[in-house]
Point group: C2
DNA sequence: TTGACATATCGCGAGCTCACGATACGTTGA
DNA sequence: TCAACGTATCGTGAGCTCGCGATATGTCAA
């Protein structure tokens, strides 16, 4: 298998993260990779919301929203605090803002003429 | 932050993307959300590689690598070109660079003292 | 205490993802 | 033509995700 071309050879860039880190990153990305959870994160980047409000916005039952919120909390993306009968969730992971901005610029916003086709 | 009051009521920020866009975004994120595919993307951000090279680096069989590459290609992240017996893959989606940078800064790199603890 | 409300948790089943082995395809050199 | 190589595709089954209904927990007001 010797050097079929320039790019070949046993070049194997060293990983910028350990195998375990890739698994962790993948698990957290997997948590984000759900339409309802993306919407929840987007909402929470603009303020704190109670479970019922998020459920209503996403048009899903409260218990389903609660499960999504639990997932997002488990990997450290969200935190919550009870206030009376309500439980308010908010962003706990600062990196979510830039991550969500990347996702929005690629998938959720109409292509802006300024930033595309800049070969 | 504001008290619990102003966040209540039917405030429903309008979505920055349609429901369909959230689903598309989630599907593409789901493709990324796999340790091997993250590694492949990271490698390809540094150059083009043939299937066998990627498989070797990731320590997986060629056919498994091929399937991961197909997934990444299907959502537009990669493109490929055949050269003789080899098929070289490369990044086809420019946004992957910034997206991957976000992921790396959060999950794959050691925490830098400059950007953390900004509570 | 009781009932109403808000949220959380559990068990379930349909549908999906993943890696594997087998096999097919495409290319090159003999 | 053939065989060897590199890559792609397919079928299979284990294990997972998802949303649902039922139920549990926690809080408040009467």
């Amino acid at each position: 298998m010797g050097a079929s071309t320039k790019t070949a050879k046993s070049k194997v860039l060293k990983p910028l993260g350990s195998v375990q880190s890739f698994s962790e990153a993948a698990e957290c990305l997997k948590i984000l990779a759900h339409p309802v959870r993306l919407r929840i994160v987007q909402l929470l980047l603009h303020g704190r919301f109670a479970v019922g409000e998020l459920a209503q916005d996403c048009e899903i039952p409260d218990n389903v929203a609660s499960e999504h919120l639990r997932l997002l909390q488990r990997c450290g993306f969200l935190s919550n605090q009870r206030e009376g009968r309500h439980v308010f969730y908010e962003i706990a992971e600062p990196h979510l803002k830039s991550l969500m901005a990347c996702v929005e610029s690629r998938f959720l916003l109409p292509p802006s003429k300024t930033s595309q086709n800049k070969s």
